[in-house]
Assembly symmetry: C2
Homo-oligomer: 331 residues x 2
């Protein structure tokens, strides 16, 4: 290994790694003579600027913080896991690393911001799961902490940079695909009104039906997310519908089970193209999560460079066709 | 908010947060007069020891690094994602935060260690996916970097602390369950020999059959992991077997498909109890990932306290019974 590291410096100076680290970060705790020996080794070996030195130059720690969600049913949770993989991948070439934290709700998350900002040198936050009345973004803005969000600021003004996926476009494409295949009684299985993402997914279905002068009234159900609730909700929609657009793969899986048990035939499209959809052959709307993560890092770099005004990016989802929808139709 | 933060101190001293941070971390870059004003505010407000100060006391950064794997088929990848959730949850109460990195192979990972240790103050690493001839652990040991592994040091001596799940016990329990239900032609679908985890999962099946004086010869197949390879491999085992233990849920899903298409009847047990197993009703061996993560943090705390010799923990998996195995049998 030709790279010069703290370990190499420590070896040459005949001190511990901790002592080298102290010389670089808290020189005042190191004895004069030791300090000089370490600095000599650093100079002789051409040890490159370490984090502390770089931070002094740039005012940056190169560390960004992201919340990791509790594991939920494991189906929808995979979406944010995939975003996290993408974020870590995109951060490294840009010179950033990702630090994780957990939080039970918005209030707890803000308390965690306080704690993190006190304990670590952080450059910025990447927020996920934005929602109506989100107090986190205003807290960060007030405290002048740089951040971007994956998710638009539902109902709040566009005063910060964000990346989002066009949820309504996703369910619109799903509904159009079913219309093109000849379906005319297309239902929607979603969540109770009030969540930005859920309302947008419902709107994509509703407006596409309206554009074709087809009725949607009575053909939708709103339930809590989950396989069981999906199965229960769709049972009484049969046989009124012959196709179903769902707000999540969990709901779609429940719907598939209820349809199979009922003996009826009904096309089904889920949302998020999770591993479960791939495994069971469920047609589903796919979010470009890797791209969304990469764009978040791009926007964050701009924010940290103070270059320009906040920017907003809305990415288009795509429909992944599998066995639960008619084959051969075009979208 | 009653908590005193860098922002509170900055406000009282009439300076920016960066200036407060500079006073705490690199006082030499701050003008004397400003520094005194900030120190006065810190003292008046009772600002608690920040990370830099704490690190000076304890020699610790409270930051641990973990590799995040590339998203694979999304089924098996969920195992390490769940471990990561557990690790982040367990780290916070112990006073640690988790930093992520990616690496393409062992050599790249070691280069990443160099880079991370140069650029960040890291306390330790948590390694996953240990394997035969793992050069990462010896590199960390040589460079005196504290670490624990989730996964035993296959073939290498137990010179460091690790947590692992008893893979052989998992497939042994699966095989016993099938024996108790009356199956006598129990096959195994696994990976090519050479991977520690894969060999252990095969051994649990083989020894349990041998203990019952039942033949296993010719009833096992070794293929690359995946749904398609699982489907192809099991097709020519039918109808020789009436039950199948699989080394992963991916292989089990492929097996289920091939069995359904063949018209034969065959019980199937997967491994890892992934969300896909839950969604399709697949009986599967479940690893205690949350506990494994918590124990990794426990052992790491011991390592960092230099308390005692390396410790090794082998956790027992459990069998989650669902529709793809006979009901009513006891394990």
């Amino acid at each position: 290994m030709s790279k010069v590291t703290i370990a190499t410096v420590a070896e040459r100076a005949g001190v511990s790694r901790q002592t080298v680290s102290n010389v670089l970060n808290t020189p005042e705790v190191v004895r004069e003579e030791t300090r000089e020996r370490v600095l000599e080794a650093i100079s002789a070996l051409g040890y490159r600027a370490n984090q502390a030195a770089r931070q002094m130059r740039t005012g940056r720690s190169r560390l960004i913080a992201v919340r990791i969600e509790p594991s939920r049913d494991g189906i929808n949770g995979s979406v944010l896991d995939r975003f996290l993989h993408g974020l870590t991948d995109a951060a490294a070439p840009a010179g950033y690393r990702v630090m994780l934290y957990t939080a039970t709700d918005d209030t707890d998350e803000i308390a965690t911001y306080e704690s993190l900002l006190t304990s670590y040198d952080l450059d910025a936050f990447v927020l996920t799961s934005t929602h109506h009345g989100d107090v986190r973004t205003s807290w960060l803005a007030e405290h002048e902490v740089p951040f971007v969000t994956f998710g638009r600021p539902w109902g709040a003004p566009d005063t910060h940079s964000w990346v989002d996926v066009d949820n309504a476009a996703g369910t619109a494409a799903a509904t159009r695909h079913l219309l093109d295949a000849g379906h005319r009684r297309i239902g929607f299985l979603g969540w109770p009104a009030g969540s930005g993402v859920g309302d947008a997914r419902r709107a994509g279905w509703a407006t596409t039906l309206a554009d074709s002068s087809l009725p949607g009234t009575g053909l939708d159900r709103a339930v809590a997310d989950g396989i069981e609730s999906g199965a229960a909700a769709v049972a009484d929609l049969l046989p009124s519908v012959d196709a179903l657009v769902c707000a999540s793969d969990s709901l779609a899986l429940g719907a598939l089970r209820a349809i199979r048990e009922s003996g009826h035939t009904c096309a089904v499209i889920g949302f998020d193209d999770t591993p479960v959809a791939q495994a069971v052959g469920l047609t589903s709307v796919s979010q470009p999560l890797t791209e969304a993560a990469a764009r978040c890092i791009d926007l964050l770099a701009d924010v940290l460079d103070h270059s320009g005004t906040p920017r907003q990016l809305l990415l288009a989802p795509s429909l992944v066709l599998r066995q639960t929808t008619p084959q051969g139709a075009t979208t």
